[in-house]
């Protein structure tokens, strides 16, 4: 196998708890691994609730914050120890699109400004004519025309238009990877598809990989190739997006998918779920599974050590849950329960 595009090795980020700080440590991301291959381009989803560490991960990859331990390699080079030339290349080839398309623009400048800045910084064009052509081409890729938008001020554009322009700006640099942190969560439903479609086209036609960071499993199901689902900084389940979402194995992921409101009035929630009290949830699980306080299948064994990733089927699909460790006493019964539930739910549908 050739060298991967991006490789995240055993990465951990801990906030707080320093030498003079009395506040407890917060483990934002723990022992995270991820590989994105050079070919073919893929859309990898990092999903999780608020506080699960997904944005911390984006910030680590983009180099906004430094790692506590572990390594992030881009084309084989550690991003923490890159020289100036490599850093410049990394900055160009790894681009970002953020959640809020309203906050990234400076309201005093015309929107053209965001394109001019990058062209100047990366010396993409020799003269104005060339620059204009570059911008025009990038805008065409996202379905816009320069004369319609470039001379406008940000407030004159809709949220969907602004977000598409951010993608166009990223595209103009011919990146290999775009880190997209919740790119559609502030865009209206009927326009969301357009941005997702642009991501798919860039992947297929321009060979640009995406790291799609989101809390919305439905959209990642529609466009994602691989998925990693985080809970309190740790991966609970990962694998092919369709496999993980159609057949979730980790109890947390099962609960998560079950809680997504189905847009069908004939398929209403028929069960009620309840959350344990706040104290129980906040009680830090020192060792063992973080999902223990909420888990319907919890076993004593779960508190001994954080469960490693167990293989579900194939190489890729893995879940961090002792239910799938064949060596653990008592799991067979638990597995039976899960199997039975699966069969009944399949029968019901």
């Amino acid at each position: 196998m050739s060298e991967p595009l991006l490789e995240i090795r055993n990465t951990t980020k801990i906030f707080g708890g320093g030498f003079l700080q009395s506040s407890p440590q917060t483990i934002a991301v723990q022992d995270f691994d991820l590989t994105i291959a050079k070919e073919p381009a893929t859309i990898t989803t990092i999903a999780g609730e608020s506080g699960s560490g997904k944005t911390t991960l984006a910030n680590l990859i983009l180099g906004f914050i430094s790692l506590t331990s572990g390594q992030i390699l881009y084309k084989g080079h550690d991003i923490a120890t890159m020289d100036e030339r490599q850093k410049h290349e990394y900055r160009r080839e790894v681009q970002a699109v953020f959640q809020d398309p309203y906050a990234v623009y400076n309201p005093f400048y015309r929107v053209k400004h965001i394109f001019d800045l990058v062209i100047k910084h990366f010396k993409l064009a020799e003269n104005k004519q060339e620059a204009r052509e570059l911008i025009e081409h990038a805008l065409n890729v996202v379905g816009m025309r320069g004369e319609e938008v470039l001379e406008k001020y940000p407030h004159q554009l809709s949220g969907g238009q602004r977000q598409r322009m951010m993608v166009a700006r990223a595209y103009m640099l011919r990146p290999r990877l775009i880190v997209a942190d919740e790119p559609v969560s502030m865009v209206d439903a009927s326009l969301r598809a357009m941005i997702l479609d642009i991501m798919l086209r860039l992947r297929d036609e321009e060979n640009i990989s995406f790291l799609y960071i989101t809390h919305d499993l439905s959209t990642s199901y529609q466009i994602g190739d691989k998925i990693h689902i985080l809970y309190q900084g740790l991966v609970t389940e990962k694998g092919d997006t369709s496999k993980v979402i159609e057949h979730p194995h980790h109890p947390y992921v099962q609960e998560l998918i079950d809680s997504i409101p189905v847009p069908d009035p004939n398929e209403k929630w028929d069960t009620t779920i309840s959350l344990p009290s706040e104290e129980e949830l906040r009680a830090h699980v020192e060792s063992g599974c973080r999902f223990y306080p909420r888990c319907p299948h919890r076993m004593d064994h779960c508190l001994t050590k954080y469960p490693p990733l167990y293989r579900i089927d194939g190489l890729d699909h893995q879940a961090a849950c002792y239910l799938y460790d064949e060596g653990v006493v008592g799991t067979d019964q638990e597995l039976d329960v899960i199997e039975k539930e699966k069969v009944t739910s399949e029968l019901a549908t």
């Binding site: 809709s158 969907g160 479609d197 798919l200 809680s259 997504i260 929630w269």
Partner: protein, 347 residues
């Protein structure tokens, strides 16, 4: 496919008491370049014990409609005309004191981002107590009893009574807001995006609490939101808004299965599914300038079925079958059937 319906069935719904009737509500926002028409003649009814969903994209006037109903429109906005009949009384013609009595007693609001509007230096008991005592004179003991009862109703433990907002999680704060909204047993609660900042699982728990409380108290509810999945789970009827107008209003099953207005269809098709992987449906989303609505239909620039007629005459909101109203020239009622006039087919 032919749709027939039972007129008897429709009668029985009409017999239900109307809690709220909004008639031709118009709200404008003044800007230096002319008025933005945020509500362009909104009319709808809410029946007793019913949940009505108000959906549409950002900027379509959902929240403005709610603010109009509560007479809370802030300058530069103003209510230009219309009637808001709450149990038969026009809210828009009340004086300040009468209005104060109606608010919270008969109609209450869970505003957008309500959980972040709790006062950080007031205990939960004082915040809820404030709401109660402003409107009712009760003995202190009775108020305490009522607050504990409310907390219990929304599924919060009694110890929350003495806690500060920062000690609560998002879901718990949202429940405190629900408890406040129902404190005086209003006949109507308006909830604006009441789960929008919550995680999926917490959202589900809060939404179920809301439904449960509503059923127990027999109130009516208007749920403003953009999440069609959540609407499908929670509401009885849906009003779809586009650029300040209601374009379709119908029972939730009809909206999801037999929607008529092209915009509603677009909205339904663009819901990302978690059940099946399907190709994305991409549409251009250019809206007109809200200051200068074009003559004719407001959806004409985005409508795939636009006809010459649509550019000239504004389609009125008509009841094509019982409880199913739509504002579109495409459909006509003929002998109890809905006919698509573009190709004469029966819908």
């Amino acid at each position: 496919m032919t749709l027939t319906w039972d007129m008897q069935d429709a009668k029985s719904t009409d017999d239900r008491d109307v809690v709220l009737e909004v008639k031709d509500l118009r709200v404008h926002y003044a800007t230096p370049l002319g008025d933005v028409i945020a509500c362009n003649g909104i009319s709808f009814k809410v029946y007793e014990g019913e949940t009505v969903g108000l959906v549409g994209e950002s900027g379509c006037g959902k929240t403005t409609t709610a603010m109009g109903v509560l007479r809370l429109v802030q300058p530069p906005g103003r209510i230009v005309e219309g009637e808001v009949l709450l149990d038969g009384v026009d809210v828009l013609s009340l004086n300040e004191e009468e209005l104060r009595r109606v608010r919270w007693n008969q109609i209450s609001l869970i505003p957008q981002g309500a959980m972040n509007s709790l006062n950080p230096v007031m205990r939960v008991k004082d915040q809820i107590g404030d709401a109660i005592q402003t409107h009712e004179s009760r003995a202190r003991e009775a108020v305490k009893e009522r607050i504990l009862e409310l907390l219990n109703l929304v599924g919060l433990p009694a110890r929350v009574y003495n806690m500060y907002p920062h000690e609560l999680s998002g879901g718990m704060k949202q429940r405190v807001c629900i408890a406040m909204a129902i404190a005086l047993n209003p006949s109507l609660v308006i909830a604006d995006e009441f789960t929008s900042a919550l995680d999926v699982i917490v959202q589900r728990v809060v939404a179920q609490t809301m439904l449960d409380v509503k059923d127990r108290l027999g109130m009516s509810m208007i749920l403003i939101g953009h999440d069609m999945g959540l609407q499908a789970q929670l509401v009885d009827r849906i009003a779809v808004m586009y650029a300040g107008n209601i374009v379709e209003i119908a029972p939730v099953e009809d909206i999801f299965e037999e929607s008529l207005h092209p915009y509603t269809q677009l909205l339904i098709e663009s819901i990302p599914s978690i059940k099946e992987r399907k190709p994305l449906k991409v549409t251009e989303g250019l809206t007109h300038d809200l200051r200068n609505p074009p003559p004719g239909c407001i959806f004409q620039f985005r409508c795939p079925y636009v006809m010459e007629h649509c550019r000239e005459v504004e389609p009125p909101l008509r009841e094509l079958k019982p409880l199913h109203e739509v504002a579109c020239h495409l459909f006509e009622e003929q002998d109890g059937k809905i006919v698509d006039i573009s190709d004469e087919s029966v819908v």
